[in-house]
């Protein structure tokens, strides 16, 4: 195999695996005569996907923007809190246990509470997306700061730099790869958050679409919603991975990582 063929194969592999997966699924459905209401064939899901594309798009769009807003707030808040925790041992010892306790709460449990406070609509979804994707960002940024090589800090200290200067010249650049690495995880979690909120009690978004479709025993539409979520999730993950690669080339010492 030449170098070229190897490269092509590497790019083609995920698509190949997906195709095999879908074909096996299709054959299994036909061969075992599984009723559509339990597990629709992928071709049928695809058909519904195309047929009801405009509706799907509208509901997806609702989910997408609530997720993104929650995610953006999580980045801003996570970065600030992560910097505070990483830079100060006092904030660390005070807040870290609380954060862990908070993270241990299943997020499904807070949706009903949110609905009491802010009602139904976009807001609970935004908040759930924020709450669930916030934690990995905080932890990663704080870790990035806490693991700065002491020598690197000494260089600045010996020049007479202030704490703020040390933070901006070493701390933040050093924490960036950790931040970007956490974004990939956080964006998928944000999707989980907003869809949970839509499913538990909402009147909008893909989660709601799936819920109402399954209430009508409309399995193909439910699955089409599932596929749509997966596509959005992968797409956002890819965007985050791309941003990561662009912003933190030094962390990989210029090597191309895929």
């Amino acid at each position: 195999m030449t170098e070229m063929q190897r490269e092509v194969l590497k790019i083609a592999m995920p698509w190949l695996f997906m195709a095999v997966f879908l074909v096996v699924w299709e054959i299994a459905c036909v061969a075992c005569q599984i009723p559509e209401i339990i597990l629709p064939r992928p071709s049928r899901v695809f058909e519904v996907f195309v047929q009801r594309f405009d509706i799907l798009l509208r509901f997806c769009w609702d989910t997408l923007w609530t997720t993104l807003i929650g995610f953006l707030i999580a980045i801003a808040g996570g970065l600030l809190l992560g910097l505070a925790i990483g830079a100060s041992p006092f904030v660390y010892s005070g807040l870290y246990p609380l954060l862990i306790a908070f993270n241990a709460i299943p997020k499904v449990a807070i949706v009903p509470i949110l609905m009491i406070w802010v009602g139904v609509g976009a807001l609970p979804a935004v908040i759930t997306a924020f709450v669930i994707s916030f934690f990995p960002i905080v932890v990663n940024v704080a870790t990035g700061l806490a693991t700065i090589e002491p020598e690197m800090r000494d260089v600045l200290r010996s020049l007479g730099a202030t704490r703020t200067e040390i933070l901006t010249k070493v701390g933040i650049p050093r924490a960036m790869p950790y931040l970007f690495a956490s974004l990939k995880v956080a964006i998928t979690l944000a999707f989980i958050g907003s869809v949970i909120s839509e499913t538990v009690g909402g009147n909008r978004g893909v989660g709601f679409l799936m819920l109402s479709a399954s209430a009508r025993n409309d399995a193909p539409t439910t699955f089409a919603g599932l596929f749509a979520i997966a596509i959005m999730g992968v797409a956002m993950y890819a965007v985050c991975a791309l941003v990561e690669k662009r912003m933190t080339r030094w962390a990989f010492r210029g090597e191309i990582v895929t």
């Binding site: 020598e151 260089v155 200290r157 010996s158 020049l159 007479g160 010249k169 960036m176 010492r253």
Partner: protein, 260 residues
Amino acid sequence: MAFVELTGVSLTYRLGKDSTLALADATLAIDKDEFIAVVGPSGCGKSTIMKLVTGLLPASGGEVRVDGKKVTGPIKGVGMAFQNPTLMPWRTTMDNILLPMEVVEPHKRRFRSRRAEYVERAMKLLRTVGLADFADKFPWQLSGGMQQRSNLCRALIHEPELLMLDEPFGALDAFTREELWGVMQALWMEKRFTGVLVTHDLREATYLADTVYVMSRRPGRIVLSKKIDIPRPRTLATTFEPHFVDLVHELRDRIHQEHA
């Protein structure tokens, strides 16, 4: 009065119950614009002395004074080349070298307006150490010796009153090293600053210093202070003259006693 004064300075590293006495009793005085060298066996506390003088570590006992003032925290604006080149991987070599200009007064305030001038200054330094073509490369694209030379440029760029060099030529080949001795000497004769050089190379110490201090094994103390009475500028030819060779031998004999 001496510019840098260490009186009975000791230092113990502590980590939980574990403690290491790194430096037992260091007493030395460096005059203003004097260039001294510290030699001694590995692990005897040379790097530790550097950190004590610059205030990066607080002394466990004794007193460190710089410019008449007792050192209690990091002192401002020293030029320091650490033993391992601690360049920042997210900055290009040029930006790494410019770092002191972004932090040290008064350059800090005019950094933006005079950037071009500072870049030219950094380029001049890079040229003297033979790295002019690598200004835009990142540190991880440089060899170990090249990183060390950049590290030296960073220590020099703001023309500090006090220059601390911890084995700055350690990773270089003999030829580049000897060339840089010349560069260092010329710089010192032109600008006149107080210099402290830690090295394992006795010829290097003798070539560059006014006074060479020999340290004992850990826990370190100063066991010999030797004035080098060879006029400057010294050249490579100087290093083969009998008097120079005698001085090196004397230092070597003293260090051998430490290994005995």
